[in-house]
């Protein structure tokens, strides 16, 4: 039996909008083992960030269960959640917007330690901040600088140090490298990989960039319009993408090589509105293989082979 750290069951988050009910996350289910990385990929508006935030209850889920270390945390009160958040942290996409511009590097990294009253002693806190900075590769001399004095890569290192301050078990990373240049992106990805090995961290890695998660994730979950449409171990997903959307998504990635050219699948149209979605498969309007059944009946997520899940009528029964 694998050691499950997180289990998400029937997670839903709906938003009321003037135009109707927006189904941001619509019945998402998955489990995640300790020390592993799950990549959640999809395009803007597919609900991947909302899923991440609902798991931490930074957004209250409409319904569903989030079972963390064997406990359903959806009904925990504020104080219980405050303690739980030591174990589950978030790294944000935009290192420019997620750091308080009026605080120095040491204040930012030390703040969670202070708030959670983990290290109330000032000198000890400074020591811990120093340790954390070393762990993420920030030079000591930067301790009293402000975020605006630093480049994007260093700012993201601060974000990581802040998340690590609590010694969390689970870190949800919401597009942690998409605002960075490629050479810096690689530095941060390697750092995160090292930290995982050293500290036994579990990651949920939310991104639109499939090539990034290929490197990083053990499993990949693909989302489309609030639903999880395919989930498989990374290697399998890349070798044998099964859902037509996953296939199109993979083929759309420009490959920096002249030798291996993939057959391009160019999708027609764009992601439809998540407000009051029509019955049937949500991808049907763009899907080159859609049948009448796809337009009327919603496909369920089915395990087509061990640990490979797909929600598509066409693969059922294969």
């Amino acid at each position: 039996m694998a050691d499950t750290i997180l289990e998400v069951k029937h997670l839903k988050k709906y938003f009321n909008t003037p135009k109707g009910l927006l189904h941001a996350v619509d019945d998402v289910n998955f489990t995640l083992d300790r020390g592993k990385t799950l990549g959640i990929v999809g395009e803007s508006g597919c609900g991947k960030s909302t899923t991440g935030r609902s798991i931490l209850r930074l957004i209250e889920p409409t319904s569903g269960e989030v079972i963390f270390n064997g406990e359903n945390i959806v009904n925990k009160n504020r104080e219980q959640m405050r303690l739980l958040r030591r174990e589950m942290q978030l790294i944000f996409q935009d290192p420019y917007a997620s750091l308080d511009p009026r605080k120095t590097v040491s204040e930012i990294i030390g703040e969670p330690l202070k708030l959670q009253k983990l290290v109330p002693d000032k000198d000890k806190r400074a020591e811990r901040v120093h340790e954390l900075m070393e762990v993420v590769g920030l030079a000591d001399r930067l301790v009293n600088t402000y975020p605006h004095e630093l480049d994007g890569g260093r700012r993201q290192r601060i974000g990581i140090a802040r998340a690590l301050a609590m010694e969390p078990k689970l870190i949800i990373c919401d597009e942690p490298v998409s605002a960075l240049d490629v050479s810096i992106q690689a530095q941060i990805l390697n750092l995160m990989q090292d930290l995982q090995e050293k500290m036994g961290l579990t990651y949920i890695f939310i991104t639109h960039d499939l090539s990034v998660v290929n490197h990083f994730a053990d499993d990949i979950a693909v989302m489309y319009l609030g639903q999880l449409i395919e989930k498989a171990p990374s290697v399998k997903l890349f070798d044998k993408p099964t859902h037509p959307y996953t296939q199109a998504l993979l083929s759309a990635i420009p490959v920096p090589s002249l030798k291996k050219k993939r057959e391009r699948i160019i999708l027609k149209g764009e992601i439809s509105s998540p407000i009051n979605p029509k019955p049937g498969c949500r991808f049907a309007v763009r899907c080159p293989y859609a049948t009448d059944r796809c337009r009327t009946e919603e496909p369920k997520l089915v395990e087509i082979e061990p640990s490979h899940f797909v929600a598509c009528h066409l693969t059922e029964g294969k």
Binding site: V182, N190, H208, S211, F238, I253, V255
Partner: protein, 336 residues
Amino acid sequence: MAEANKKDLILDINDLVIHYETEDGVVEAVNGLDIQLEHGKTLGLVGETGSGKTTTALSILRLVPDPPGVIKNGSIILDGKDVLNMPIKELEAIRGNLVSMIFQDPMTSLNPVLTVGEQIAEVIALHEEGGEKEAAQKAGDMLEVVGIPRERYGEYPHQFSGGMKQRVVIAMALACNPKLLLADEPTTALDVTIQAQVLETMKQLREKYGSAMIMITHDLGIIAEVCDEVSVVYAGQIVEHGTLEDVFESTLHPYTEGLFGSLPNIEERRERLQPIPGLMPDPTDLPKGCCFAPRCKYCTAECEKARPEKKWVNDTHYVRCTRYNEPDFKIERSER
């Protein structure tokens, strides 16, 4: 193209130097950059934030903000005309006509209070004979060309999605059949499946109209997709230039190698990425020698003495790297 036939060039930039003179010091954005581009060809300018790619593109339209931007040296010859010594009236006549630009962010490059049709018609009416009616007609045609139904002529930018807005910007840029199209990260703000659609549209249209293009991007995947030639820019200078095959298959410069090593590639699953250590040099305080030397694993004392000169290895491929003065020098990537 060591000694190209000058009259075949749509764009000929020689030894361009652009500085931003700010209160905090002189930002050396572009430092002796050359571009020779033939009619109908696509050149990819690849480099990281702050490498001077966008400043170069803006200078071709003479849109570098002045102050603080100062073009210190060099020449820009566009279709036989000297851009840097052109009167403003003439400049206005070529912008959007002979040469046009697609900006990175479609959200901010459209006017929110004009309909998309009006915005396209505006360009046409400005540069072409014929009345407003004709311009409106042609603007409608252009919408269809980029795959937007004509019925949406009267809608405002906020009613369009990101991909659709970028199509409008492309329609606008192509409305007057420019001979040169400058595309500054045209798909960076878009999702991958939409990016694939937009790149495909651009490709088809360029074939139809025969425009030359400079594609500015940080994504080597896009370069492989759309370009004929590549220039790799670092700290305001082209460190390696060649055809796609030259640069991808026989990479010469350590920085280009570093870019390939940093890039997660879905076709080559590796255990770890090989990032380039360190950061871009401060453009107000560039090193005296090779600008890449502080981050380069092949760096020797010689590299820090002077800026490397161009070294041609064949008719189409050059590199600026001091180490190639040694006859046996090879980077690791060439061993593949």
